[in-house]
């Protein structure tokens, strides 16, 4: 890996006003949520509206910012000629992609670190809830997966604006449109088909994959109901955990590999 390039990227990331704003926003939201959580309701272990809203916020906001910032970063490199300049140095395409990915990944990890440290401090002050470890883990998985998706969006895009549009489309599909389509299809087909399609969708949609991870790792898989009993039973077994890990890794590795291939092809054309 080209350390110099990575350090340059990482510094640029942290210097950008946009990132600093995102950091403040996240800290603010996490504080607000953890405060609301502690008002008036007992600390129940289980899937409640409070845990659901925390999960949803994570799923809505984190991918949105990672996708837009990450993809626009790559697209602007390509558009402005910065990438061509970089290519005059002894640096391979793989090094470029890995450097970009790591810089994006680590700067969002830093934001998460800040946000969760504030949550920890706040919950200590209120003295009742403990740090939601499952959410910390899921945030990390979210950053890992969506950073990779952001890179590929940036590589595919023709311009910065295109990258923005593309990442918004990906975001909307992952978070909303796929599940709406499935819900609509569900009104037409038999229950067992809806159940199978949902299982397929869970694996093909990174946002749902992370959400599903919440139910598995928090021991709340019964929330998904009797029709997913066999399915959740598998993912609660040791083999299931390994499969979960493998699928998660392939959600990181495959987009990055594909991004490399596409970038190479793009260069060949240019």
């Amino acid at each position: 890996m080209n350390v110099l390039f990575f350090r340059l990227e990482w510094k640029q990331m942290l210097r950008s006003r946009w990132m600093q704003l995102v950091a403040i926003l996240f800290v603010f939201i996490f504080v607000a949520i953890s405060l609301i959580q502690q008002i008036g309701l007992p600390n129940v272990d289980g899937f409640t509206r409070q845990t659901a809203s925390f999960l949803n916020l994570l799923l809505f906001l984190l991918p949105l910012f990672i996708l837009t910032i990450g993809s626009m970063g790559v697209a602007s490199d390509l558009e402005s000629g910065w990438y061509s300049l970089l290519k005059t140095y002894p640096m391979s395409i793989t090094q470029y992609i890995v450097g970009k990915y790591l810089a994006l990944l680590l700067s969002f990890m830093l934001i998460l670190l800040l946000a969760f440290s504030v949550v920890l401090g706040m919950s200590g002050l209120a003295g009742q809830s403990h740090l939601p470890t499952v959410f910390v883990g899921l945030s990390i998985i979210t950053v890992l997966i969506f950073s990779a998706l952001a890179i590929i969006c940036g590589v595919v895009a023709k311009s910065r604006l295109h990258a923005l549009a593309l990442s918004l489309v990906v975001w909307a599909f992952a978070l909303l449109l796929v599940s709406y389509t499935l819900m609509a299809v569900g009104t037409l087909v038999a229950g067992h088909i809806l159940q199978k399609l949902t299982i397929i969708m869970i694996h093909l949609n990174p946002a749902e994959w992370i959400r599903f991870g919440y139910f598995i790792f928090s021991g709340q898989s019964s929330v998904l109901g009797p029709s997913f009993y066999e399915f959740t039973k598998f993912y609660n077994s040791p083999t299931g955990f390994i499969v979960y890990g493998l699928v998660t890794i392939s959600w990181v590795v495959l987009p990055l590999l594909l991004a490399g291939v596409l970038l190479r092809r793009k260069e060949g054309r240019a």
């Binding site: 389509t181 087909v189 399609l197 009993y229």
Partner: protein, 151 residues
């Protein structure tokens, strides 16, 4: 690109739809999850359980013959693939429409409806003789049978 995706999606849907087996077979009970569709009771007395294989490939499970018959009454004929009930005193599933039934108020079933099923008329008759009680019913009789408590 998107259109291709959608097409793929619907092809998968259609394939899955087509996969629904047309020679309806009873499925095994899963005691962790199966509850009666009508009365919501979890099925713990497997020897009285019933099920309907719907024509779209779904299964509905029942804890008692009475619940099954009630659910059938509200279904369209074309939605019903085949209906099954456990054979009295044996492990196997039998077709409700060809089975014979015995009613007695002292026969306990999960919903206390007091009707049990037999593979054939002879076996049912034999049961009545052996036990010294009970009334023989046919599938057609069940339609007009008054389900509920019989003191």
């Amino acid at each position: 690109m998107k259109i291709k995706w959608l097409v793929c999606f619907f092809v998968v849907v259609l394939l899955l739809q087509a996969c629904g087996n047309k020679d309806y077979k009873p499925r095994d009970l899963v005691s962790e999850t199966d509850v009666c569709k009508v009365c919501n009771m979890s099925i713990v007395h497997e020897e009285y359980a019933g099920q309907i294989a719907l024509s779209n490939g779904d299964y509905e499970m029942f804890d008692d013959l009475g619940c099954l018959i009630e659910y059938m009454k509200n279904l369209n004929k074309k939605d019903i693939g085949k209906t099954f009930i456990k054979d009295e005193g044996r492990e196997n599933w039998i077709n409700v429409e060809t089975a014979s039934f015995v009613y007695d108020k002292d026969i306990w079933t999960p919903m206390s409806y007091g009707v049990i099923a037999f593979e054939s008329k002879d076996v049912a008759q034999q049961y009545i003789v052996n036990e010294g009680k009970g009334k023989l019913l046919s599938y057609a009789d069940l339609d007009t049978f008054e389900w509920g408590v019989h003191h």
